[in-house]
Point group: none
Chain length 117, copies 2
Amino acid sequence: MSGVTSINLVENALLVSIQDDVTDTEIVELQDTLSNRIAKENVKGVILDISSLEIVDTFVGRVIAQLAGISKLLAAETYVVGMRPAVAVTLVELGMYLPETRTALSLTHALTQLRRA
Amino acid sequence: MSGVTSINLVENALLVSIQDDVTDTEIVELQDTLSNRIAKENVKGVILDISSLEIVDTFVGRVIAQLAGISKLLAAETYVVGMRPAVAVTLVELGMYLPETRTALSLTHALTQLRRA
């Protein structure tokens, strides 16, 4: 299983790297682990790194939206970083505007914004 | 083909002029080009100049909404400038309130707001 998603604490945020070949089962696990860690570690934000995603479909779009929704309910702001241009175009064409998330071009930008928050 | 849309870098924003007779194919190309340039040139904003649009329909409204959605996902703020009063009336009548966009009466106003951001 190459595509294990990882969760790491960076400053006051949890950095989640989503792999290209993430499966349905892994996502359910990720949701559990992430929500528990947000509550336990009292983080201000969740940063979803999707730079390894080359193609998105509605499944991946829904995954991002759900993770953002969970984080918001647990009082953490979600930033999506590393989105490829083609991915942005596809998400919008699929009608997925990800209203709950903020985007930042890089991890540095996301951390800067979280420091200000 | 008279109505070629242009993209120019102005300060820290990309100025996109949308022509009246823009076609579906041109829009797809514009989405690709614009998204790649936002990511590459690390701009803070996208300014959609629609002053040459005399009439809008749902197609053009959707184009504006999609371009704004893509820009937002790539961490750039969208400003719509040069909207004619009749166009504003039509967009609202069509139920298109363009929630992802900010509007400014002129390019100068948009640039002033982007400098502050």
